[in-house]
Structure formats: structure tokens, C-alpha cells
């Protein structure tokens, strides 16, 4: 009799999480929980100003403090060729400043002391003499002819431009615009925000002079990339470098890059021959580590009267801060911005992108987003609403007319992506029904009687999740694939390791479920380990919703390799030829006699005790998976809001989310990902952003200015599911972690703008704080758009 897959915790089981057993007892092992014998503590002195030449640094008073072991400056780093380091986008970034500081919060000195209190005290004793320079806080200022040059360190750099980049067929697109009945336009700013995991970044570097071994415990979503980077930058032999990512208190893209603090702690450990711990504080995290977004987007759509989209063209201007440090595939300067409009059948498109340096924090620009797709999909869905309004067409119907149809997959987009599968119309129908779309006008009229404004906003999108394939996707030349290693012990229990690294996604639970599905070994018999480069196979880590599409696929593939070997063992045990063997979950049997069989556990025992002649002993294997394509999940979100016109405050009355992420391994965890993502979308739409004043002071440097929604503000979420299996993924799964953050913001903004449509309002830039909404509804004018950015709101 076949096993019950749900009972053994296989695919489709909402298995309770294994990792919770330690987290709910306070026994997680985060980097700040690790204590090593003789450990010292490091604190970083940051620049209080945004742009200045360093005239002098006096560290003598810091050195004189009892308990201080080392004070590091940029000059000391430079003497070891470590003052600058490469970024993930072929630029350089300062580790400790030597010539100038280029943004507020930049690392200037580091103090290593016996305890963190002394290290902080000593930082306050360092005197830095700054010669203040003009400050640039937006791309318009950066592009000005007389603008001060921020990157005067770079040979050949002219002005403050980082890149120009374009894609698409401009001539065909322009022609389509000439033939259009209606041309619709929109411009907006996707403001700078920050992933802001609750746990900040940190590291403990432990260099052992006797063995030349460097062990670094750190908050990294991609420990293997760090090992490679340390080998290349610090010129240490790679076999002597061990990077360990212990439990991570949230990542959201913030913990992908290599930050100066990590590098400094490594040098400090080499110099002091003691373990050195660096734990960033919240302000340090918010003002110096990888932000998200900060892009101005401007676009036009060519439309036929019947609603058919003929073409679109877009310009983006992105603000990269002081160093170009985007974590993104090297081929694409503005990430996967060109995945925009992938859900719609549009023959012609052109995109032109420009990036600028400014005196703001540099960053990975990833925030729960595959390489700029959040900006791409936000603009797409805001544009869809504006175009529907310009055509006088229903916003749901306009989307339906232009959707790629169910039997048109795979579909090649105008920019060359190949979307794999989907049932877009079905998802939209479910959402419209759930929110009672037909009844909305009546509800709106009813609310108007109470003096309230009602709005409804739709956001539908497919996005590319799960980088690679390796043909097109690499980071610094390292191809984007992933890996899994499975060792089945003789009692049929197993350990699985992957090149990914969970930061809350629950890999310890779900990876075991994939193995259970493939081998019939109960999930509870499988231990999952990640994050230690000495034991895990090489992988590119967890971001861009790539774990399940890539590492998850590798898990299935390695389990299949194990099953193939177990089949040979089964044939040997059952004394029949391999061709006569059949498989059912957890068991091989003889085709002609189903009662004659052996379990996978019996095969495991035989692999170590009774293998066929000539067979290599053991039951272990490794799989590297290079995906043939990205996976393309679909999301359809509809939001209904009510605005109080006397204050501009808006409330979410209902939010409906239909997600099609293919086959769901653990539905409970998938729903958790979606609800978390929606909450971050709500945060960006409502309150969470970073801006800078004219002097380059970061507004949003702590949780009093940078607002995260609490349980009190956060609305409830209604989730629905559609399953279109991914045709090219071994278990039919697609990425999901970022769908809600990507598609969510436009649903809120579209709802608020929809409520103000009758007043002539077309756009309000996020976050939709009451003052902005109030301004729009009282003036009937848009709020936001291209720079110069309004300051002080």
C-alpha cells in the first residue's frame, strides 16, 4: 500500500515548521548570540555629513582609552590595499573613507575594544576635520552642468552619470505611436525605501594564525558569494575561508551585499589575532546599507480605441547613491526593469534608462524584489489604470483585453522574456467575485452619502522569479545556478544541504517535504542544513525568490538521483531486473507482483551492507540545477479603500489577493510569504520611505522617522489560490516570496487614485500619507512626479 504523502509531510502538507522549535524557545542562533573565547567588539564611526573632504583624522584620544585594542582608519586600510572594495556591479565602494566622505553614514573609522560600550565611547573621542563640499541629493542635481563631481576617485569618470542603457526596438515603437488612436502618459517617483530587517547586519571574524583559517559568522543571504569575494579581495586562499550564516533575523535583500563592516572586522581579526564581533545599530543599518528603489519613471502607451495596447515606451532615471552597488545580473544595468508589462500581449516596446551618482547611501537596491521588477510592475499597473481612464474603459476589462491568453504560452515579450504559463483571466475573475466588483458603484454612492470617498484599485502582474538560467544571469561573472546534496544514512534517515540560505522562508521544513515527495522518506526523518560554506555545496544564496525555483529544483533532482541508485539496489534485493521494478511513494515493487517489494529504507540499509557486486557503496549524491528559464508566477490583487475627505486618511476596507505560484510545497508557508509581502507593500504605499534634506541628511534614519506598520494599522488579507504548474520546473513550483511586495503597492495606490479620479487626480507618489492625499483631493492636482523632489513632507 502506498504511503499517504500528506501524512509523511510531503508536498502539499501544511507541515508545522521545524525551525520554530528553537525560535519559540528563544534558542535561535543569530550572529549576535555567538560568543567566542577572547572575542573583541568593533564599533564604526560614521560620517555625520553627506559630502566632504577629509582634512585630518586624530585617533589618539581613542587609542588612549583603557580597553581599546585597535583603531582603524582609511589610511591603514589603504596600506593593505583594502580601502576600496569591488561592488556587485563592477564599481568600487569605500571600506573606510580615505579622500572624501560621499554620503551621510559612510564608514570613517573603526574601534576594536574589549567590550561594545568602550568601543562606542572611543568612537566619540575620534576627531575628524571635514571640509564641506556641495551636496547632491537627486538625479536632476547630479545631471546639472555645474554639478560637483562625486566620484573624483574614478579614472575616466565624467560628471555623475553611472550609465545609459536601452532595450527594445525604438523605430517600430515610435511608428506604433504614430498609428495610435489614444496616447496615454504617466510619470511618477518610486521613492527610496529600505528593506530594514529587524535584525541589523553583523559579523564575527575569527582568524586563526596557527592554521591560517579564517572563519566569519555573518548575516549573509549568500555566504558562498562572500567566500569568493573574500578570496579575491583579501587574497586569502579559498580553502582557508569558511563563511557561516547562522540564523538570520530577516533579509529581504538587505543582506546580499558585502558591507564595509564585514571587511573591517576581518582585517581587525587578522591584526589582533582575536575574534572580532561587529553588530550594526539600527541607524547604521538604515543610513548605510542596501536601500531599495529610488527611481523616476516616465512612460507612454499607444492605444487603439477598442482598448488594445499597441506599444509602450519608458524612461527611467535611477538614483544609485555614492557607489553603484546594485546586486543584479551584470548584463542588465537597470535590473529586470524590462520585464514590465510581461503579463500583457504588447508587440512593441522601448526602454531607456539612465543612472546617477548622488550623495546618498549606496545599495543593493533589492528589497523583496527580483532586480527592479517592483518598480517595473508598479509603473505597469499605475500606467494600466491611467490608460483605462484615458480610454474611458473599465479597468478590469482593459486588463483582460490585453492579457496573454492561457493557450498562448510560452509567450515572448517585446523585450525578449519568455513567460512560461498562467491563467490570468481566471485569477482576475476570482478576485472580482471576491471583492464584489459589480456592486462597487452602488457601494461608492452609498459611501458618498456619508461623506466618504470610495476607491477600488487592481494590480495584475507576472514577474520573472528564480535567477538564472546561467546563459543570461550572473553576478560578477559567477553564473546563477544552485545546488543540493543529499546523504541518506543506512537507517533511511537523511541530511540535506543546499546552496541557498533561509532567512525565515522555512527551508528546513519545505526542503524535507520535497525529499519526502520524491523518496517517500518521512519529512521528519530529514535534517536540512544551510549556510556553512565548509559543508554546503556551492550556491548563489537566497534572494530574488530564487530558492524554490533553483535550489528547490536541485533538491528534487538530487532525490531523483538517489532514487535511481536505490532502484538498482531494489532490483538486486528483489532478484529481478531493473526493468521489472516499479516505484510508488517510498517503495519499489515487482511489476508482476505488487506484494513483493522493498522500502526506500531497506534500500538505504543495503547501500551500506548488501550492495550489488560492482556498485559503489553508499547512498549520497549532489545535484547542480541550472534552470532552463525563470519561473513566472501571477498575482491579481484588488483593494478597496475609503477616504475621509476632511483629513486625507484612508482605510483599507477589503484586500483580495489571488496568487498563482504553481504547485505549493507547503501551503501554510506560501500563505505566510504572501501576507508578509502584502504588509511590506502596504508599508511602502502608506508610510515607509526615506528622503534626504538639502544637506544630505537622511530622513528615515530610525524607526521614529522610518515607519513600519504595526499590527494595529495593518489590514487583514483575504487569500485565494490558483495553481498553474510551472512547465519547466521539476515539481511544477514557481517563486512566490516577492510577488506580494511587487504587485501589492499598485493596488493600494490605484485604489486611492481611483477614489479621487472624479476630482481630476491622476497620480500621488508613495507613500500616500494623509497630507499628500489631502493636498490632491483639495487641489485636484497630482502630487509628486519628477524632481526636484519636494522636501519636508
Amino acid at each position: 500500500m502506498s504511503l499517504d504523502e500528506i501524512k509523511i509531510g510531503g508536498m502539499g502538507a501544511s507541515r508545522r515548521r521545524v525551525e520554530d522549535n528553537r525560535f519559540i524557545r528563544g534558542k535561535g542562533n543569530y550572529v549576535d548570540d555567538i560568543v567566542l573565547p577572547g572575542m573583541l567588539h568593533m564599533e564604526i564611526l560614521r560620517s555625520p555629513v553627506a559630502h566632504a573632504r577629509i582634512k585630518s583624522i586624530d585617533t589618539s584620544a581613542a587609542w588612549d582609552m583603557p580597553g581599546v585594542r585597535l583603531v582603524l582608519t582609511g589610511e591603514m586600510m589603504a596600506a593593505r590595499n583594502l580601502a576600496w572594495m569591488p561592488t556587485l556591479s563592477y564599481d568600487t565602494a569605500a571600506v573606510l573613507a580615505t579622500d572624501k566622505v560621499r554620503f551621510q553614514g559612510q564608514e570613517v573609522c573603526a574601534v576594536i575594544a574589549d567590550d561594545p560600550y568602550i568601543a562606542k565611547d572611543a568612537c566619540a573621542k575620534i576627531v575628524v576635520d571635514y571640509e564641506i563640499l556641495p551636496v547632491i541629493v537627486n538625479p536632476v542635481q547630479a545631471a546639472a552642468a555645474d554639478a560637483v563631481q562625486i566620484r573624483d576617485d574614478k579614472e575616466g569618470q565624467v560628471g555623475n552619470k553611472v550609465f545609459d542603457w536601452e532595450i527594445g526596438d525604438k523605430a517600430k515603437t515610435d511608428k506604433a505611436f504614430q498609428d495610435a488612436d489614444v496616447v496615454s502618459k504617466l510619470e511618477l517617483h518610486y521613492p527610496r525605501t529600505h528593506p530594514s530587517p529587524i535584525e541589523c547586519c553583523g559579523s564575527i571574524a575569527d582568524f586563526d594564525r596557527a592554521t591560517s583559517k579564517l572563519t566569519v559568522y555573518m548575516t549573509s543571504q549568500a555566504p558562498h558569494i562572500v567566500r569568493a569575494a573574500v578570496a579575491l579581495v583579501a587574497e586569502l586562499p579559498e580553502q582557508n575561508i569558511r563563511i557561516v550564516s547562522p540564523d538570520i533575523g530577516g533579509g529581504f535583500g538587505n543582506k546580499v551585499p558585502v558591507y564595509p563592516g564585514y571587511v573591517i572586522s576581518i582585517l581587525a581579526s587578522i591584526l589582533t589575532e582575536r575574534p572580532v564581533k561587529w553588530i550594526e545599530d539600527k541607524t547604521g543599518n538604515l543610513i548605510s546599507t542596501g536601500f531599495g528603489r529610488d527611481v523616476y519613471l516616465k512612460g507612454e502607451m499607444a492605444l487603439r480605441k477598442d482598448g488594445k495596447i499597441l506599444a509602450f515606451r519608458m524612461n527611467t532615471i535611477s538614483d544609485h547613491g555614492a557607489f553603484f552597488a546594485d546586486a543584479q545580473p551584470s548584463k542588465f544595468k537597470i535590473g529586470l526593469m524590462h520585464s514590465t508589462f510581461a503579463a500583457y500581449d504588447i508587440p512593441n516596446a522601448h526602454l531607456f534608462a539612465t543612472g546617477y551618482y548622488t550623495n546618498k547611501a549606496p545599495g543593493g537596491v533589492a528589497y523583496r524584489c527580483s532586480f527592479r521588477v517592483t518598480e517595473a510592475m508598479f509603473f505597469q499597473e499605475r500606467m494600466m489604470q491611467a490608460a483605462a481612464d484615458d480610454l474611458g474603459m473599465d479597468q478590469a476589462e482593459f486588463r483582460r483585453v490585453n492579457f496573454v491568453k492561457d493557450d498562448d504560452f510560452p509567450h515572448r515579450t517585446a523585450f525578449g522574456f519568455l513567460t512560461d504559463s498562467g491563467q490570468y483571466g481566471k485569477c482576475l475573475d476570482i478576485a472580482l467575485e471576491a471583492i464584489n466588483y459589480k456592486n462597487f458603484e452602488a457601494e461608492k454612492a452609498e459611501a458618498a452619502k456619508r461623506g466618504r470617498l470610495l476607491g477600488i484599485g487592481i494590480s495584475t502582474m507576472t514577474e520573472p522569479l528564480g535567477a538564472g538560467n546561467s546563459r543570461e544571469y550572473d553576478i560578477l561573472g559567477i553564473k546563477m545556478f544552485d545546488s543540493a546534496e543529499l546523504r541518506v544514512h543506512m537507517t533511511g534517515k537523511a541530511i540535506l544541504r543546499t546552496g541557498a540560505k533561509s532567512q525565515g522562508q522555512g527551508h528546513e521544513t519545505t526542503w524535507a517535504q520535497i525529499v519526502a515527495h520524491e523518496l517517500g522518506i518521512p519529512a521528519e526523518d530529514i535534517v536540512v542544513e544551510e549556510g556553512d560554506t565548509d559543508t554546503a555545496p556551492f550556491g548563489m544564496g537566497t534572494y530574488a525568490s530564487r530558492s524554490t525555483p533553483v535550489a528547490g529544483a536541485a533538491v528534487a533532482m538530487v532525490a531523483r538521483k538517489i532514487r535511481a541508485k536505490a532502484r538498482k539496489i531494489a532490483a538486486h534485493l528483489l532478484e529481478v531486473s531493473e526493468e521489472d521494478i516499479e516505484w510508488e511513494l517510498g517503495r519499489f515493487y515487482v511489476r508482476s507482483n505488487k506484494d513483493r517489494g522493498v522500502t526506500i529504507q531497506e534500500c538505504a540499509m543495503a547501500a551500506y551492507s548488501n550492495m550489488p557486486d560492482g556498485m559503489e557503496p553508499g547512498l549520497e549524491n549532489t545535484a547542480y540545477y541550472d534552470p532552463p528559464n525563470l519561473t513566472w508566477p501571477f498575482a491579481c490583487y484588488i483593494c478597496k479603500v475609503e477616504i475621509d475627505p476632511e483629513t486625507g486618511v484612508w482605510d483599507v476596507l477589503q484586500f483580495v489577493a489571488v496568487d498563482d505560484c504553481g504547485v505549493r510545497i507547503n501551503p501554510m508557508i506560501v500563505e505566510g510569504q504572501i501576507m508578509g509581502g502584502l504588509t511590506e507593500a502596504y508599508a511602502m504605499a502608506n508610510m515607509q520611505y526615506q528622503t534626504y534634506d538639502e544637506e544630505g541628511n537622511c530622513i528615515g534614519a530610525n524607526y521614529m522617522d522610518f515607519l513600519l506598520p504595526t499590527a494595529w494599522e495593518t489590514p487583514g488579507w483575504e487569500l485565494y489560490e490558483v495553481v498553474t504548474p510551472c512547465p519547466h520546473h521539476p515539481i511544477g513550483a514557481k517563486g512566490v516570496g516577492e510577488c506580494a511586495t511587487v504587485a501589492g503597492p499598485a493596488a493600494f495606490v490605484n485604489a486611492v487614485v481611483n477614489a479621487l479620479k472624479d476630482k481630476g487626480v491622476r497620480n500621488i507618489d508613495m507613500p500616500l500619507m494623509p497630507n499628500r492625499v489631502y493636498e490632491a483631493l483639495t487641489t485636484g492636482k497630482d502630487v509628486g512626479g519628477m524632481p526636484p523632489v519636494r522636501s519636508g513632507d
Partner: protein, 174 residues
């Protein structure tokens, strides 16, 4: 603060920093330490007593990852001086449940998937515990209000609310 300032470690404090002796009842056991007056309660718990379940997220009383129960009331231990706790009771996540049996709040968080990365979880559970002690039958709104001093970046709170409702029901049926 430094581990060398604790009585357990037999080295005398360095320099001319004044030291104060405190006795705090932590999870039911009196613990005595010689501390600098400026030592924060969170640091005493984490570094002095190795109770690392109390997390530090923001150092500014905003995120609530460091929430502990102070004489039964939830407080943020990152901005409270350890000296203020002298003679008082402090309960941390390590004091929830026993080695063999989980507290209903812990069980609720696991059953309802009320956590993902786990970093906010100890503080969130301590706030939930305090709520259920004073209100065994809270509404969803009462739960959301009681937890509004604790930030979670992963879950979107919906499952945390469910977790607390689960725990409330379990506690009532016990």
C-alpha cells in the same frame, strides 16, 4: 559593559568605573551581578546571563524584539537600565514553558505559523503573554492593540493574531 564585570567571572573591573551590585529575580531565580550603572537590562540578560532569546533590534524602544516581563508588565529591555531592575522580577522567553512543555503562547505561534525569521518572536510572545494574563479572552482588535509595540517584518501580523487567539483558547480550556 563587559562580561569581566560579572561576579561569576573572578576578575575585578578595570579602570575607575563605579560598580553597583544588583540582584534581579530572572525567570524565578535570584541572580546577582556587579555592574556598571549604565548597563542596559538587555545587555545584562544577553551577555551577562547568556539569555540570548531576548533580542536587540533597534536600541530605541521601537521594535520590541527585546520585550521582557518586568514584574509581569511588558517592557523593552534595550532602554531600561539593569540597575532599575534591582530587586524586581524579570521574565524572558527562556522562562516561558518548561523543558518538556511549551507555554500555550509558544505552541500557538508554532501551530498558526506566527513566525518566520524568528527574530521578533520572543518579544512578541512576551507581549502576548502579558495580554493573556490580564485578558484571557481578547478580541482581534485587543490583540492588535496589545502587540502594537512589537514590530514584525515577516508575517504581516495576521497569523500572529491567530496564534494569540489559539493560545487564549488553549489557556481557557486548561
Amino acid at each position: 559593559m563587559s562580561s569581566s564585570l560579572f561576579e561569576e567571572v573572578q576578575t575585578p573591573p578595570s579602570g575607575d568605573i563605579s560598580v553597583r551590585r544588583v540582584t534581579i529575580n530572572v525567570n524565578g531565580e535570584p541572580r546577582t551581578a556587579d555592574i556598571e550603572p549604565r548597563l542596559l537590562l538587555a545587555d545584562l540578560l544577553r551577555q551577562g546571563l547568556a539569555l540570548t532569546g531576548t533580542h536587540k533590534g533597534c536600541d530605541t524602544t521601537n521594535c520590541g524584539a527585546c520585550t521582557v516581563l518586568f514584574d509581569g508588565r511588558p517592557v523593552k529591555s534595550c532602554t531600561m537600565l539593569a540597575a532599575q531592575a534591582d530587586g524586581h522580577n524579570v521574565q524572558t522567553v527562556e522562562g516561558l514553558g518548561t523543558a518538556s512543555e511549551l507555554d500555550p503562547v509558544q505552541e500557538g505561534f508554532k501551530q498558526e505559523h506566527g513566525l518566520q525569521c524568528g527574530f521578533c518572536t520572543p518579544g512578541m510572545m512576551m507581549s502576548a503573554k502579558a495580554l493573556l494574563e490580564r485578558n484571557p479572552n481578547p478580541t482581534e482588535d485587543e490583540i492588535r492593540w496589545a502587540l502594537s509595540g512589537n514590530l514584525c517584518r515577516c508575517t504581516g501580523y495576521q497569523n500572529i493574531v491567530k496564534a494569540v487567539l489559539w493560545a487564549a483558547e488553549k489557556m481557557r480550556s486548561n
